[in-house]
Symmetry: C2
Subunit: 424 residues, 2 copies
């Protein structure tokens, strides 16, 4: 097989007919497959069966002197704060254990910026004419949805293999209307890259014109290796502190992809001054979050080592699936030179860049063959991928056979879209 661009018109025409026939065969199978969202599979849920079934005698609900079953302790059980602090490499006093969702904590943090302003804001953002936010792209669609619900102006920043293009970031932060930036520093959603130390130093030492600049550090995949050993990461809080930016950053993570998605524990981490400020605001919103679930997580995961050991079980399941997708792409797509992708070693996604102008077409072809993918464009602000090239593959949820089937269909669709493009 040679690259498409090296083929003659006749060869292309023959391959097109063959691929179209392949596609029609796919369609005739009446598939109903879904690889659209980063949902753990049932086998992954079962890894945490103990979480749902542990027996806790009444006296064991007292954790560091706090009755987990009753009201109180807004920032969470000390044992749970310590667990997250150890995982993130921060101090326990910098941790706020919230409810079940880091997305909710992110939304709530930005909401507080709008309703009350952040610690160093002159005004709540709702009083400003214009709020702009830096959105490294491709990125996570739910981050962009938060910006959109608040009517922010999203500024796409190109992603490199080392993180956001810092030259572009630097050119924007001189504008005081630029109020923050989204980052998924480890196994970035969707590209799977991890920010280089240099990029992180550069981010932590930024001097944005907005003194209430909000660095949204979504460390969703902090311990989510599926290949190789745990990869240590820089503690962004002390890194920012080192450059006099202690209050610039809020870090987020959760156990959604450690134990149960939507029934785990989420936290944010921030400077002690930010913590004092946020706790005062949150005290109007909540008496306390679900400490019984926090306690269950402490009993299940125990400590950082326990969490890492637990993640190695996920890794076995995830790596098999990622490998299956990569093998099929390597076999059917790579030789044709019509798409780019990298094999990730952690996180939840494979980012696939098809030929420019083809991503929406591939998405539609997939849909019409019964396979749902993340909407083309969703990885860019306003759903607008300027190249119409990026697709996010979420391999975790389907059983391996379905995933292979779905990826086969994907390969066919990527080929078909490329061939149609070249024919026009």
């Amino acid at each position: 097989m040679k690259e498409l661009c090296a083929m003659s018109r006749n060869e292309l025409s023959a391959l097109y007919e063959q691929t179209l026939a392949e596609y029609k065969r796919c369609q005739s199978l009446g598939l109903k497959l879904d690889m659209s969202r980063g949902k753990p599979s049932k086998a992954q849920l079962d890894l945490s069966a103990e979480l749902a079934n542990m027996v806790i005698p009444p006296e064991a609900f007292i954790s560091d002197g706090i009755e987990a079953r009753n009201y109180g302790k807004l920032d969470g059980l000390d044992a749970c704060k310590k667990l997250f602090a150890d995982i993130l490499g921060v101090r326990p006093g910098q941790i706020f254990c919230g409810g079940n969702s880091s997305l909710t904590l992110m939304y709530d943090t930005i909401t507080k910026a709008y309703t009350h302003g952040m610690l160093h804001s002159d005004l709540p953002w709702s009083k400003l004419d214009k709020v702009k936010f830096l959105c490294p792209s491709p990125g996570y669609d739910r981050h962009f949805a938060i910006c959109q619900t608040y009517g922010m102006e999203m500024i796409p920043v190109p992603m490199t293999d080392e993180g956001p293009d810092m030259n572009v970031v630097m050119s924007y932060i001189a504008d005081p209307a630029v109020k923050g930036m989204w980052c998924v520093p480890k196994y970035s959603n969707p590209t799977g890259i991890t920010y280089s130390d240099e990029t992180i130093h550069s981010i932590a030492s930024m001097k944005p014109a907005a003194k209430d600049f909000l660095l949204m550090w979504d460390n969703a995949y902090c311990i989510h290796e599926f290949e190789g050993d745990f990869v240590p990461f820089i503690d962004i809080l002390s890194e920012c502190e080192r450059y006099g930016n202690a209050d610039m950053v809020f870090e987020f993570t959760s156990t959604s992809k450690v134990t149960f998605p939507g029934a785990g524990v989420a936290c944010f981490a921030c400077s002690e001054d930010n913590m004092t400020y946020m706790k005062k605001l949150i005290s109007a919103q909540s008496i306390s979050y679900d400490k019984v679930n926090q306690l269950r997580h402490v009993l299940l995961l125990k400590d950082r080592e326990g969490a890492l050991a637990h993640m190695r079980k996920h890794a076995r399941i995830m790596s098999e699936k990622v490998n299956a997708v990569i093998e099929l792409l390597d076999e059917h797509i790579k030789p044709l030179g019509i798409a780019e992708y990298k094999k990730p070693t952690g996180g939840y996604f494979i980012s696939l860049n098809v030929m420019p102008g083809c991503a929406k077409k591939v998405f539609t072809l997939m849909k019409e063959a019964g396979v749902v993918m993340t909407t083309a464009g969703a990885t860019f602000p306003y759903g607008n991928d300027p190249q119409d090239s990026n697709l996010r593959i979420a391999p975790s949820y389907p059983p391996i056979d379905e995933l292979r089937m779905a990826t086969q269909v994907l390969c066919t669709c990527v080929k078909l879209a490329a061939l149609e493009k070249l024919a026009n």
Copy 2:
């Protein structure tokens, strides 16, 4: 014993000396008692031991086709929606099951009014010069704290035995800046009264000038009888609908005082149109709430009858405590004619009106004798009780012996404050 107002100067003087000695004896005991918050006691937590310890086999997590352990179903498990719908007497489609706290759902609802506006708002409230809110008082301090964090102007409305004084309410709602009202319709916090049907009709048929008027119907104590049978209540949603006000009301409740405070399930109920509007907004905030805990609650409580049976166990514990307080007040305070209170038949509080100008004094005397009460004034907007008369007694948390001791101290302090006042 005769009423204080009928006593001679000499009698008053003698009683004062005697009471002062009593108070000093209380002080010398070095007490450390707390009857400040409506926290269930350990015995009440243990009633729901099964909730923390139930074993759920993997296949049982599928509830109406939804895997409770994975992402999705923003508005909650259908079975949990049905449970709350049956309890509140509304349609399941009118229920949104959220996280662990109805306070958070209330805060979030008002926050949405500020950030996005409600369904019928012309503008988000953050864009308005002035937002006023009706606060029937005495009321719940955490409601007032939400108003305060948003800088609303709180308007106190006197409470009668039938609910808020509707003449006062009617006089205010002609002002389009009056955007809503707090209500605790059953076993009101702190007075313990239940709104009369007439008051509820009157509320449901209001025609406020603000077309986005927000009736915050906090039905916290909907099944919280501790004396007598369950008392049915009017479904405020259909009542509002009947008067063309379907979108005016949001009702809230939770299992915080049914199972575990802060580790239960909360919900709001609203019209289907409001639900569509809110779900769209909330979809930027959350993928889904903790459905595993929702499932646990469905398995524990089963249905409305199961919830009522569970509440009868709470009733036995609560009624003993409320009776203990009332007996002591009846014995030591009632004959003197220096305070007013009613024995509630449900809810969590006893509201005590001491002689005008004495509540803060009683609070301080209590504190100096080692007993923490809810801060005097806390039951009024801005902590400002114009009569300085209302105190909220929260009898649920302390063991019965400590509660009796604390109430003895309270009786002494109420007497002492009254005698000091009469002496001046």
